[in-house]
Symmetry: none
Subunit: 405 residues, 2 copies
């Protein structure tokens, strides 16, 4: 079913009800064994609570984008929220801007900026992340960059974390079809912004003018004496979850990008702390006010990206230990999944489908008894598109009417 057809059905069929839905996303959950024939991170972890949910629930392997396709965090999450990630795309700049709560307006062009280090003589990049400068240094430098003015457009520069910032241009006729300036390797100088369509020439010129000013203003700084720009994008104007599903939806996530994603699909983003315990406390505090909670766990992915199999196992076990507290709130539907796989073996996102369980009183349990990749492959959900999860969640919460007479 196309995403448009699904959304049309959801709009037509959704009804209100008391059942609450908890979507627990362990970022990069899926893994691989370190040795052929071994266990994955999830299979290695001691997870009595997840195993119980799997036994009482229905399991499968979720494919965020398609067979063989490794998803970025944007497509991976959009699919979990029910959006076809090939139909709906979000530029990196928009993600970053939303993540810091920047009040975007229609037509704004947002870019992700990185502070970097360049050789003062040759201009070649020597550190693409400027030694991961502290966020406070970032704030001082972005304040400096705010002095740059451009003809006929407003310019906003906002710090994110460490070496990352957001640049937003606001004005008439701006276009996001622009090349990136990061050469993606050391020893090369930052590239100029090139228009990818003729209509984007003026926007490219403005950005190159801004970059020249930035180089001059940062010349005496160290290590952050230059910037790169990437991911120029406009707000894609996604349908909102409240309108599509009839849900009051809230997001609990510690990292800016995931908060930004949630905001783009119309969720309320709840203030929370840095730890898993903070996130659970936030869930409890807002339980009555919402129908749907997106609960994001970042550290499974970070451990996978670092190639740290053992740490990923430990994070999964920490989440498992917190589950009873979350279940005690009485969700009608619980989904546990990931936005993609991040096997420690590969130190990166991967294309492998994501072990997934859906638990509810009405789910019709299958024979899966353990939450793990191999067990989920035998579950009744089979290998399925991640975007099917939202309709299934609504159905299991008894929030969908019958289709047709």
């Amino acid at each position: 079913m196309t995403s448009d057809a699904t959304f049309a059905l959801m709009r037509e069929l959704h009804q209100t009800g008391p059942g609450k839905i908890l979507l627990l996303v362990m970022d990069g959950l899926g893994g691989l064994p370190l040795e052929p024939g071994g266990l994955t991170e999830l299979e290695t972890a001691h997870t009595p609570n997840l195993d119980r949910l799997a036994a009482e629930g229905i399991c499968g392997l979720a494919e965020p984008v398609g067979p063989g396709i490794t998803p970025g965090s944007g497509p991976g999450h959009l699919a979990l929220f029910g959006y076809d990630p090939l139909r709906y795309t979000i530029g990196r700049g928009i993600l970053e801007a939303c993540g810091i709560g920047f009040p975007l307006e229609p037509g704004d062009i947002a870019l992700r900026g990185n502070f970097c280090t360049v050789d003062p003589q040759t201009g070649a990049i020597t550190d693409r992340r400027a030694g991961r400068i502290p966020t406070e240094v970032n704030a001082r430098l972005t304040a400096k960059l705010r002095k740059i003015q451009l003809p006929d457009v407003q310019v906003f520069v906002e710090p994110v974390k460490e070496y990352r910032f957001v640049l937003v241009l606001r004005g008439e006729g701006l276009r996001p079809e622009l090349s990136e300036t990061d050469p993606q390797r050391l020893g090369a100088a930052p590239l100029p912004v090139e228009p990818l369509v003729p209509e984007a020439q003026r926007t490219a010129d403005l950005l190159n003018q801004w970059l020249a000013e930035a180089r001059r203003l940062l010349a005496d700084e160290h290590p952050a004496n230059m910037v790169t720009l990437r991911g120029a994008a406009r707000d894609p104007g996604l349908p909102k979850m409240g309108e599509v599903y009839g849900l009051r939806a809230a997001a609990i996530a510690t990292y800016p990008m995931y908060r930004g994603l949630a905001r783009l699909v119309g969720m309320d983003v709840l203030p929370t702390g840095e730890t898993l315990e903070d996130e659970v406390a936030t869930l409890k505090a807002h339980w009555e006010a919402y129908d749907f909670f997106y609960f994001h766990v970042k550290k499974t992915d970070s451990a996978g990206e670092d190639g740290d199999f053992t740490r990923k196992v430990r994070v999964i076990e920490e989440v498992d230990a917190l589950l009873p507290e979350m279940l005690a709130l009485g969700p009608q539907v619980v989904i546990v999944t990931g936005d993609h796989s991040t096997p420690a073996l590969l130190r990166s996102h991967s294309w492998h489908p994501v072990p997934t369980l859906l638990w509810s009183r009405h789910c019709r349990a299958d024979g899966v008894r353990q939450f793990g990749e191999t067990a989920c492959a035998g579950g009744a959900l089979g290998r399925f598109p991640s975007k099917d999860l939202m309709p299934l969640a609504l159905a299991n919460a008894l929030r969908l009417n019958k289709f047709g007479a």
Copy 2:
């Protein structure tokens, strides 16, 4: 594959042959355990014959519309006949008219009517089904209503069963985009017909005029002293199974709606009695004359809707006991499935995929040994769209040529 693409292939590839196909539809077949961890209705039933077919056949879970979508009988059956239920939709009025064999003409507007009881003073509905009046009373009352005349259109009023009738308007420029008059609750008066598009204003006016006359004619009747109208629709002009699949197709069903559905896709609807045994006798009597039989069992669904787990089990066992007689006729392909699930636990249609078996000499049997939800989840058909069954049936009947050189 889209429905249009599938139909194009079927038209191109179908060939004649001796193999007959039996599509046995147990309405609302899929179920749920009453207690978590228990057995479903089908799993509880003693079904040696279905189990043998499952063991020799290929099994899976059929999804009529899409994940999480609870199908009405129309979409559920269209999918089984190979029609994408999102691409092809049928209004309730058309279903009812076909069900009683009313000879619809292009442009006719058909509506489902219900006799109801209203408070003579306030006009408020006190019984939406007029105490389920006997069909004979219905026939007398519809004869009375036939006296109502409208300007420039022909009006037909035909009894269905108990409190239900069909109203058909025939004339130029009629439109089906009309609101329903049943307020769907007691204590409220029937609503007027409202046009949903401006072009339907005249049709709405005609129907409101008809309703005023009906109220007057029925004023002295009890309990059926008023009517409600719903599901205004025109014949959707579906492709016919004979043309698409090259099959001489026949339907054996006791309830009007299913007979109507079969007629809409071009099946011959065979006269039959009220019992399962009558239906089997009809199958035998017409075996030589057709290539494809749609055999409908209603009572599985009725038991589920009544929340009667035990009765649903018994109906399944009754069907199982009749299977050997049907198999003795020598079908080349047997499919056993449902148009949707109707778990007694939920007392309604549900979104759960439907246990399905396809048996033929050439099906390539899987490891499933029992016909039930959990066993089918492990079958080689996996979780699949119901509309895939017709191409599989034709292939297994050796009625499809090769595609491409």
